[in-house]
Amino acid sequence: MKHRIASLVLARLAIALVTAIIVSFAVFFATAMLPGDTATILLGQAATPEAVEGLRKAMHLDDPAIFRFLRWLAGVVHGDLGVSYANNMPVAKLIAGRLVNTLKLAGLTAVISVPLALTLGITAAMLRDTLYDRCLTIAIIGVVSVPEFMIATLAVLLFAVYLNWLPAVSFTSEIRTAYDFARAYAMPVVTLTVVISAQMIRMSRAAVIETLNTPYVEMALLKGASRGRLVLRHALPNALGPIVNAVALSLSYLLGGVIIVETVFNYPGIAKLMVDAVSTRDLPLIQSCAIIFCFGYLLLTTTADIIAILSNPRLR
C-alpha cells in the first residue's frame, strides 16, 4: 500500500513537471509572437539599421525560437529573468519586493478566509435547508455572480464613502503602527476574503453533504448517533480530500483576485506590476510575472491532488 501511494504521488509530480514545461513554453511563445521587432521597439523608430542589427545579434533574436526558449528557460532556472525593456533594471530585482507584498496580501487573506469559510461551509451542510443555510446560499450566489471589481467598489462605497472610516482608493506605503496597517489592508483583504470564501464555502458544503448521503452515514444514524457525531466522526474524515481540494482551488482564485484588487487599491504587488507591464508591453517582465503566477497556481493544484491521494482511507 505504501508503495502504491508513493507511485501515485510520483505520477502526480511527473504530471506537474510536464505541465510546468508546457505552460512555460506557452507563455514564452504567446509573448514571443508579439508583432513588431523587439530591437526596433527598444531603440525607437529613429535607430539606424546597423544599430538594430547589432542589438538583434546581442539579444540572439535571430536564433530559432526553440533555442531562445531553452536559453530563456535556463536563465529562469538560474534566477536570471532578463532585463526590463522599460527601465533597464533586472527583472528579478523589480519583482522581488513586489512579490513579497503580494504574498503578504495573499497570506493575510488565506489566514482569515480559510477558517471562516470552512466553518461556514461545514455548519451550512450540518444545518442544511434551514434559514441559515438558505441565506448563506443566496449570499454565495450573489458573490460568485458579480465581478471582483464590483465587490471592491462596494467596499469603497461602504467604508470610504458612506461610513467614512477609510481613505478611498489609496494605499499608503507608510505603515508605522498596527492601526496604519489595519487601515491600509482592510479593504483589499476584505474584498479578497469575500471573493474566495464564497467559492470555498460552496465547495466544502457540497463535499460534506455528499458524504452525509452515503450508506455508512445512514448506518451510523441507525446506530443512534447524534447529528454532531454523524458530521464530525463519520462525514468529515471522508470529506477531507474534497475539502482540501476546495481550499487549494479557492486559493488559486486568489491569483485572479489580486490582479483586480491590486489595481483598484493601487497596491504595490506583483499583479499591479504585471498589469502595468502589459500597458507598456515590457516583455521580459510580463513573461516572468506570468511564469510566477502559473507556477503558484500549479503548486496549489498539485498540493491539493497529493493531499487528496494521501487522505484516501482506501489507500492506507
Partner: protein, 284 residues
C-alpha cells in the same frame, strides 16, 4: 412489476414543473437579449453626444441613469454596452462549447493516445489562470473584439472539454454504447446518437455557468483597460471610465456594475431552477 401496471392508462399530467425564481431569471436574461438586439433603435441619445452640462450627473427625469464623466447619457451607454458584453460572451461560449464538447466526446470514445495527448495538453492550458492568460494575449496581440472572443473561447475550452469528457466517459461504459460499438457503428454515429443526447442537459447547464465566467472575465479585463477599447464600451469599460465618480457614489459607476450583476445572477438563478421533467415513480 407485471405488465398489468403499464397497461393501465396514466393520468395525463403537465410534463414540466416550472419554478417562479427560474421564470424571473429567464425574463431578465430575455430582457437583456432584446436590449442587445434593439439597442440602436431604442437609445434616447446618440452615445457620443454630450447632453449634460455637468459630469457624473445624478438620476433625473431627462437622464434616467445620470450622466458619465464627460456628461454623456448613461442610459444610452448602458443599453449599447449590452451589445458588447452579451455579444462577445455569447460568441465565445458557443465557440468554447462546440469545440470543447466535441473534443471531449471524441477523447472519451477513442481513448488511448488521442485521449492522453488531448487531456494533457488541455489540462496544461487549464493550469494557466484565466486572467493571466488574457493579459498575456492582450499584451501580445492587442484587444480587438475578434481577439477577445477567441481568447475567451480558448480559455474556457479546457473546462468544457473536461466536463463533457467526464460525462461521456461515464456514458461510454454503458452497455448500450458497447452494443452499438459491436454492431460496427462509426465514431460519428456513436457521438450523435448514443453519447450527445445523454449528456446534452448537463452540458448546457455547464455552458450557462461558463457564460457567467466569461461575462465576469470580460468585464474584469475591460475594467483593467485591457478589454473592449473606446470608442466601443462594454459594461466593464463603463465602470472603468467612470471610476472617478466612485467617491460621489455616482450612478455612472454603480449602474453598469448592477447591469453585470443582474445578467449573471439571472443566468445563475435560471440554471438552478430549470424546469424539471416530471417522472413519477408509478410510471416505471
Amino acid at each position: 412489476m407485471t405488465s398489468a401496471v403499464t397497461s393501465t392508462p396514466r393520468r395525463p399530467r403537465f410534463g414540466y414543473r416550472i419554478n417562479a425564481v427560474g421564470v424571473a431569471g429567464a425574463l431578465i436574461v430575455l430582457f437583456w437579449i432584446v436590449v442587445a438586439f434593439a439597442a440602436p433603435a431604442i437609445i434616447p441619445h446618440p452615445i457620443g453626444d454630450i447632453v449634460d452640462t455637468d459630469y457624473f450627473g445624478p438620476m433625473s427625469r431627462e437622464l434616467w441613469l445620470g450622466s458619465d464623466y464627460l456628461g454623456r447619457d448613461m442610459t444610452s451607454r448602458i443599453l449599447m454596452g449590452a451589445r458588447y458584453t452579451l455579444g462577445i460572451s455569447v460568441a465565445a461560449v458557443i465557440i468554447a462549447g462546440v469545440s470543447g464538447v466535441t473534443l471531449g466526446m471524441i477523447a472519451a470514445i477513442t481513448g488511448g493516445a488521442v485521449d492522453m495527448v488531448l487531456s494533457r495538453f488541455l489540462d496544461a492550458l487549464n493550469s494557466i489562470p484565466s486572467k493571466l492568460f488574457s493579459l498575456v494575449v492582450v499584451a501580445a496581440v492587442g484587444s480587438s473584439i475578434p481577439v477577445l472572443i477567441v481568447t475567451m473561447a480558448v480559455i474556457y475550452i479546457p473546462g468544457a472539454y473536461r466536463f463533457a469528457r467526464a460525462l461521456a466517459v461515464n456514458i461510454n461504459t454503458m452497455d448500450f454504447v458497447v452494443v452499438a460499438r459491436i454492431r460496427g457503428e462509426s465514431l460519428f454515429y456513436l457521438i450523435r446518437a448514443e453519447i450527445l443526447p445523454n449528456i446534452i442537459g448537463p452540458v448546457m447547464v455547464d455552458l450557462g455557468l461558463r457564460f457567467v465566467f466569461i461575462v465576469l472575465l470580460l468585464s474584469g479585463l475591460s475594467f483593467l483597460g485591457l478589454g473592449v477599447k473606446p470608442p466601443y464600451a462594454d459594461w466593464g469599460a463603463l465602470v472603468r471610465e467612470n471610476i472617478g465618480g466612485l467617491p460621489y457614489a455616482a450612478p455612472a459607476v454603480i449602474v453598469p456594475s448592477l447591469a453585470i450583476a443582474s445578467l449573471t445572477i439571472a443566468v445563475n438563478l435560471l440554471i438552478d431552477n430549470l424546469p424539471t421533467k416530471i417522472r413519477d415513480r408509478e410510471a416505471s
